[in-house]
């Protein structure tokens, strides 16, 4: 039976998935200033992206600091940096926000479609997709890792297709890995998911009394082939196998991990972590609701990513994306098991029929074009009507303006979170002491920075050894307090965000 005979109406009437996409788009654009200002690395990514576009080469040595100049550098995010720089060239920071919105819209729409494929329940899929969004918002920042969120969902799709016995993921998943390995260092998450599917399949086949969904013939061949080819494709990047060393090596340095906020365990005093906590609590209930039990790979994925997310807050969005389909599958199985034909399931069936019948995408595309046009024309679409810019209360915007007219002698000692912004504003004229790429700067320099920042014993030696002539710090920093009363230094600039201290000549 045709619900709506008119083809045009089938295009125009929005599906629930379309409404979800529009909601995400408006939400992300509305929080644009937050995306730009919570983290200080965007400036570095833009600077590096511009460099690659202008010079047509990917730098493998440091160009940005005076402390590590010329040292070997692993450009593990170069492709994402190019994408951000292109978006910036199109429409400045508005373009960056729009790119983030586009990536997040596709990510969560694909997640919704994946859950729908697994459960066949539209409202349930929407609910778990929104739960995953709520849990992951704490790490929605204008940074390359957004591409990892998208590719995790693509990867889950590939593994699910592999699990149905189809072989075409063997061809395209390695290509996805090739792109992923050049977009962001967390491409290793793909291999974690791949491993969980393999172990889950072994578990289901040999260790579990009954598998809710038997494996198709040839699964292990496709699975193994995909893994091996993906690994080989991941080596196609500017530094080859060293990319793996950089991505894994950082995690082995407890000092750097302990000093990088996103690698710390979640702080559950922050409200932003509560949706994640809610998902973990819900996972206990849904895994334990009884038969039918979840497929083993979902149990492995939920248990494993729970551990990873509790270890490091940066893994919380990945946990949310991986767990949402698993938990939705558990909930769907339980609902179906409760009664032969409850009214809720009848409603879900009607919605699913409607969702499949409508052609969709019309309104999300229109909205994307409209928002893009408005941003391009300079409209402020964020909730606070501040516009997409670097916030002068967060970054030393006015101090850098002042520096343009009053250049200081000697090298700079800068506040670590401002390193990226300073590169964005002042490179190549000025090079930073340090910026957010701690995996490159390493433990020794980071310790020296901390020594200077906290004005701990020996701070003067650090500043002298790097020929530091001026210091850019927040007014409340211990070093600022120390320099204020130090006879060799004088404060030459002050505002509510930043102080500049210069050596007395």
């Amino acid at each position: 039976m045709k619900l709506i005979p008119n083809l045009a109406l089938r295009f125009i009437l929005p599906r629930l998935g379309d409404i979800l996409m529009i909601g995400i788009l408006i939400g992300v654009v509305g929080m644009g200033p937050r995306l730009l200002n919570v983290d200080g690395d965007l400036g570095r990514h833009l600077t590096l992206g511009h460099f690659i576009i202008d010079r047509g080469q990917i730098p493998t040595q440091d160009l940005f600091s005076h402390t590590m100049q010329g040292q070997p550098l692993t450009p593990h995010e170069w492709l994402a940096e190019v994408a951000y720089a292109l978006a910036y060239r199109w429409s400045g920071l508005d373009g960056v926000v729009l790119l983030c919105a586009l990536v997040l819209v596709i990510t969560f729409y694909l997640l919704y479609r994946l859950i729908l494929r697994l459960t066949g329940q539209v409202l349930l899929s929407l609910g778990f997709c929104i739960a995953a969004m709520a849990a992951s918002t704490l790490h929605w920042l204008a940074r390359p890792h957004l591409f990892t969120l998208l590719l995790v969902v693509v990867w889950l799709w590939g593994m699910e297709i592999t699990r149905t016995g189809k072989r075409h993921p063997l061809v395209w998943m390695p290509v996805v890995m090739l792109i992923w390995a050049n977009l962001h260092g967390a491409f290793i998450a793909g291999f974690v998911i791949w491993f969980a599917y393999g172990i889950g399949a072994i578990w289901s086949t040999w260790l579990s009394r009954s598998s809710p969904d038997p494996l198709p013939a040839g699964f292990f061949t496709t699975w193994l082939g995909t893994g091996i080819l993906s690994f080989l494709f991941s080596l196609i990047n500017p530094v080859g196998i060293h990319l793996w060393g950089t991505s894994l090596g950082y995690l082995q340095n407890s000092y750097l991990v302990g000093h990088t906020a996103e690698y710390l365990s979640p702080d559950f005093h922050q409200v932003s972590t509560w949706p994640f906590l809610g998902m973990v609590m819900l996972s206990l209930l849904l895994l334990g609701l009884g038969r039918p039990k979840l497929q083993a790979h979902w149990v492995f994925l939920v248990a494993g990513w729970t551990g990873l997310a509790l270890m490091s807050v940066r893994n919380v969005p990945l946990y949310a994306l991986v767990s949402a389909p698993a938990l939705a599958s558990g909930a769907s199985g339980w609902i179906s098991d409760r009664a032969t034909d409850p009214p809720y399931l009848r409603l879900e069936r009607r919605l699913l029929r409607m969702e499949r019948y409508l052609l969709g995408y019309f309104w999300p595309v229109i909205m994307m074009l409209l928002i893009g046009f408005l941003l391009y024309r300079g409209a402020n679409l964020d909730m606070m009507q501040k516009g997409n810019r670097f916030d002068p209360n967060v970054f030393p915007v006015e101090a850098v303006d002042w520096l343009a007219d009053h250049p200081q002698d000697g090298e700079m000692f800068n506040y670590f979170p401002w390193g990226g912004y300073l590169l964005y504003r002042s490179w190549p004229e000025k090079k930073v002491f340090i910026d957010g790429q701690t995996d490159f700067y390493g433990e020794q320099l980071t310790r020296q920075y901390e020594q200077g920042l906290t004005a701990s014993e020996g701070w003067e030696l650090v500043l002298n050894s790097y020929k530091v002539g001026w210091v850019l710090m927040p007014p409340g920093a211990p070093l600022s307090q120390t320099l204020t009363s130090h006879p060799e230094w004088q404060r030459v600039y002050h505002d509510a965000t930043a102080d500049i201290y210069s050596r007395n000549r």
């Binding site: 009394r209 365990s265 209930l285 609701l289 149990v299 270890m311 409340g476």
Partner: protein
């Protein structure tokens, strides 16, 4: 020759044909060994930074025969009303100190922790060896929250309440009337009674969930039983008012949690940091529990869910809740780990046998050792472990050991210097050292100590301002008329004071004393 048939699912390790009494004896022996090991793990040098002000408070109550309900230790809150929710716990600790110094306190803490785990063992499922393993796991989780202070009594009483509710639900034994005296005692020993009330609330919520999900079974409490539990919970909630603080007893847990500085300043109120090795067992229990629930094939009981999820959330919000989490989670884990192991083994065993990979070594092979010899060997092992436990608890409490740790953690030498030189003036001190100074430097009231609910954000934020040398730090010291500062050498204030008219009076690796 065909190997003897075995089952690696055997739930006991006694000989075939052993009597029920022999099996029970074997189980008891395994538990005795485990609990002695727990005691050994729990016996530590009693050096919690809050122990000292608890001891001093206990001393004041003991000697004056009046419960201490006003502040007499600080100059920032001098004379203010203080909700002393742990007065009885303080008196007990001080009494122990008088009787047996640090040895008595160490033994008490280890004994109380062991007793709590003994109660926990009663609520677990599976063979003795598995339960013993889980007890050790529970110890590794909870040990982080076993301080030498009245909080340890809360750990025991949570286990006791958990045990009573377990018997009520799973064994249909009604001891709910015991809850009332337990909560009266609890509200005088320590403010953690609120966790006991939460436990009751979670069981009620869990049983309602069981009914909502349509679960049936002997262990599902009927509505009548749920109502009875709610009634005793309500009475217990009112019973906690029977203490010197009256209605304030209800309010103080909320006031304490409401102090913002707690989560930033005090590690036990912070979320776990799983990059620290000692906190990893908590994470391991979460992961293992999720995995076992997902693979055991056994449905998760509603009360098990509410207790597990609720106390997991509390543990993730504040590390001090690791202990209650262990008490709530380990029994649930045991109820799913054992079926999961049975399931896995039943699949693995035939496969391994098929490929000849399983050595047929029977756990239940008849032994040639005579029962009398076995009994003596078992007793010998217990005796050896008992002596080891005694050596451990004595060893960690030796005056020399306590003094060494005291010198490493507290400003012991700086305090001695102050006692000898009597510098004049009001003393500004580090937060962590407040309790220690209350105990040792009796002529110098403190700026702040571990009684965060007394000082709240007002005083603690001033303390943070000074320690970090934030703008206005001088005004704080001027306002309180401070002329002496005793702080660790690695705080930012140390880089400012020498250039601001303060001179170093004393300095060692632990502390710097400045004078104006």
């Amino acid at each position: 020759m065909m190997p003897p048939q075995i089952s690696i699912l055997e739930t006991d390790n006694s000989a075939p044909g052993a009597t029920a009494a022999e099996k029970r004896d074997m189980e008891r022996w395994v538990f005795a060994v485990t609990l002695i090991l727990v005691f050994i793990m729990a016996a530590r040098t009693p050096l919690d930074s809050d122990l000292w002000w608890h001891l001093r408070s206990g001393e004041v109550t003991w000697t004056s025969r009046q419960i201490l309900l006003t502040d007499v230790f600080s100059y920032t809150r001098a004379g203010a009303a203080w909700v002393n929710h742990s007065w009885l716990g303080q008196v007990v600790l001080y009494g122990l100190y008088r009787v047996g110094s640090y040895l008595a306190i160490s033994a008490c803490v280890a004994g109380v922790a062991t007793l709590a785990l003994g109660l926990l063992a009663r609520t677990m499922e599976g063979p003795a060896i598995l339960r013993s393993f889980l007890l050790v796991l529970a110890t590794s989780v909870a040990a982080l929250a076993w301080p030498a202070r009245p909080q340890i009594f809360s750990f025991l009483l949570i286990a006791l309440v958990g045990s009573i509710l377990y018997r009520y639900k799973w064994e249909q034994v009604d001891r709910l009337s015991w809850l009332i005296p337990i909560f009266i005692l609890w509200s005088n020993l320590h403010g953690g009674y609120v966790l006991g009330l939460l436990w009751i609330g979670m069981v009620i919520a869990g049983e309602l969930l069981n009914h909502l999900l349509g679960y049936t079974g002997e262990e599902i409490l009927s509505f009548q039983k749920i109502f009875r539990l709610a009634f005793f919970g309500l009475i217990a909630g009112f019973a906690v008012l029977l203490n010197p603080n009256g209605i304030q007893t209800w309010l103080i847990p909320f006031q304490t949690v409401g102090v913002n500085a707690l989560q930033n300043l005090i590690s036990e109120w912070a979320s776990p940091d799983f990059h620290q090795f000692v906190q990893l067992p908590f994470l391991a229990v979460i992961i293992l529990t999720i995995f076992c629930i997902g693979t055991s094939g056994r449905r998760l009981d509603g009360s098990d869910f509410t207790l597990l999820a609720g106390f997991m959330a509390l543990g993730l919000v504040a590390r001090r809740n690791f202990g209650p989490f262990a008490l709530a989670a380990i029994p649930v884990l045991s109820r799913h780990l054992w079926p999961a192991i049975q399931l896995w083994v039943s699949r693995v065993q035939p496969i391994l046998q098929e490929y000849g990979l399983l050595r047929k070594i029977s756990w239940s092979r008849p032994t040639s050792i005579r029962p009398a010899v076995k009994r003596w060997v078992n007793l010998g092992v217990l005796l050896f472990l008992g002596i080891s436990a005694a050596i451990k608890v004595v060893g960690v409490s030796l005056p020399g050991v306590v003094e060494r740790y005291e010198n490493e953690i507290f400003p012991a030498k700086a305090v001695t210097w102050v006692q000898e030189h009597h510098p004049q003036g009001t003393l500004f001190n580090s937060y962590d050292w407040g309790g220690y100074l209350i105990w040792r430097l009796r002529d110098y009231p403190v700026f702040v100590d571990g009684r965060t609910d007394l000082y709240n954000d007002e005083i603690i934020s001033q303390w943070i301002q000074v320690m970090n040398a934030r703008p206005g730090w001088e005004h704080v010291l001027d306002r309180w008329g401070v002329h002496l500062v005793m702080v660790p050498p690695d705080w930012p204030i140390n880089s400012i004071l020498p250039r601001s008219g303060w001179s170093v009076l004393y300095q060692d690796q632990q502390a710097v004393v400045y004078g104006r």
